[in-house]
Symmetry: C2
Subunit: 345 residues, 2 copies
């Protein structure tokens, strides 16, 4: 996906952002990120990617992900022990290029192969495919898994099929733990695929966001409406409705998720309540409480929880709710130690 | 401090928040928080406070803080091993009551006394003072330290003297580590005071925020201006200026901080770049990079860093920059393990 630069200089409304050159927003942020986390991660340029400090781990499967920037901490904040070996950031809301993917994959391969976690957007899918082929040609054993957890819509702006959204965090955490314990490439890919098959997400936007090099909000949303089923780039969702209560909004997210997951009851689940970037933490916990009530009313046991702004859309106000049906192994891998800039336990 | 309820029901502009009853926003968020972090923290009601699970640690000094809600994760997200033993949340942007303070202090005392970390707002100071007296009357040994790191203004709405803002995080982390290693009450208080004397902060708002039970933005800021020196409740700062670049805005924050700290050069510092709640992470890292350049140009070594939204003002867009002049002991205490909902290493 990519955005139009033509309106950058119009500036009819002052864009309120902490930026220098909007066209350099990603590079400037990565420079700060590299300095703040020196010793934990490294940022390579030409082509750009982020990798764990210390070089590839011989004999261990490596995990790579990436996508458009503007969703931080996804993916660069998840590089570290127990999660990603490298992340490939594109420009804002724009897919990374094949050469970035190939360079990152080659850099982290320790001889046991590399699994790529790809969110289902057409540009990401094509560019990861080409990048993985390039890496494969250079002798790296590769595999990939496609994340498409968003139940809101089939097909969308930038996407054929369902979009990959906050469930990606669970895929990266759990597959990273499987790689860390020494699973083979095939086994790590299978675990990742099992997470994909068991996680579903739906989000809501209260406000739009502004891509720096575009300079105007990515969509219009009336003062008294929210968009249910929003994509993480502001792609259209299912419908708009009056703002309403947290209880109503949460139900509008949880019900489609449960309808799609169709749990039989009694299952243990991970509940991830994810802020879109501009939502106060207190509101995320209100939604968490409501979502939990709804899941428990359906006979599900909320056995693991994560609440925070992890898969964001710049300054968008909104939230997504993800539910992952756990089994013993997935719970164990979720609990395994992780040490990254954005997620540590 | 407290806010006026009169406009709650006017609703001239729909308040876009994920809430049920605005008057119950704090209680609803704490209910979710308690469920999401069961086993790590407990939320007690009547009066309300949050404490570490597992009860008081016999013979160890306990650390308590608190203040108005709406600044999360401060303080409730910092309850846990190596940081706070309890946090006392008031209503949104409203001081906690003396009985909350007294109950929390009594609950966490393990016989070695309790240090209260208090941000310098008149209501907080008075209510903590009264609460600590009540606890003392019941036999608890108490001490307190006042945080006033904001260099923006002397005296302000709600404050005589300087305001306590993001530097509070450093006080709580470092004093928590001193308590964890077994320091006496006097020694923990001295360490906390040393942090207060060496940390300075200044913030900027790009947008205002809306307190749920008030229902309208806490101040007006033109579309093309930012407010330099903003307080964490939207209290006036030093001046307004055109949006400008990250480089300009960061300089307008770092220069007053350095002027006040007056480092001689060569010192090692902690650089904390703190989001106000609605700022994308990428922008925080841009500011971090610029702040680091300015500090290094002054001959300072940025030896420790933290970048994230830790001391927030609901959905306000903005950032604050804090600089703490380290010494070997403060660096060691900063590095010591911490395990809380919002900060873990």
């Amino acid at each position: 996906m990519s955005f139009d630069h033509e309106d950058v200089e119009k500036g009819c409304v002052a864009m309120k952002k902490l930026l220098d050159d909007p066209a350099e927003a990603v590079v400037d942020a990565l420079r700060g990120f590299a300095l703040a986390h020196a010793g934990e991660i490294e940022v390579r340029r030409d082509p750009t990617y982020v990798l764990r400090a210390g070089g590839p781990a011989a004999g261990r499967v490596a995990l790579v992900s990436g996508g458009g920037s503007g969703h931080e901490p996804l993916h660069v904040g998840f590089v570290g022990a127990g999660m990603l070996d490298a992340a490939v950031p594109g420009e804002m809301f724009t897919s990374p290029t094949p050469d970035q993917v190939a360079a990152a994959v080659q850099a982290v391969d320790g001889g046991a192969g590399v699994l790529a976690v790809v969110k289902n957007y057409t540009g990401d899918v094509l560019n990861f495919e080409t990048g993985l082929e390039l890496a494969q040609d250079s002798g790296v054993q590769v595999a990939s898994v496609l994340v498409d957890d968003d139940v809101a819509v089939e097909d969308s702006q930038f996407t054929a099929g369902r979009r990959g959204v906050a469930g990606t965090l669970a895929v990266e955490k759990i597959a990273g733990a499987a790689a860390a314990r020494g699973d083979s490439l095939g086994a790590v890919a299978q675990i990742a695929q099992r997470v994909v098959s068991r996680v579903r997400t739906m989000g809501v936007a209260l406000t739009a966001c502004t891509v720096p090099h575009v300079g105007r909000p990515s969509f219009d949303l009336p003062e008294d409406e929210v968009e249910i089923g929003i994509g993480i780039h502001g792609e259209p969702g299912r419908h708009r409705q009056a703002v309403g209560s947290a209880r109503e909004i949460t139900a509008a997210l949880v019900e489609p998720v449960l309808e799609d997951l169709a749990p039989s009851g009694g299952e243990r689940v991970l509940l991830l309540v994810n802020g879109m970037g501009g939502t106060p933490q207190s509101e995320l916990y209100v939604v968490y409480g409501r979502a939990r009530e709804l899941l428990e009313a359906r006979g599900l046991e909320v056995a693991r929880s994560l609440v925070g702004s992890y898969v964001t859309s710049l300054e968008m106000q909104g939230v997504s709710v993800s539910v992952l049906v756990l089994d013993d192994e997935l719970a164990e891998l979720w609990d395994a130690p992780v040490r990254t800039p954005a997620l540590t336990w």
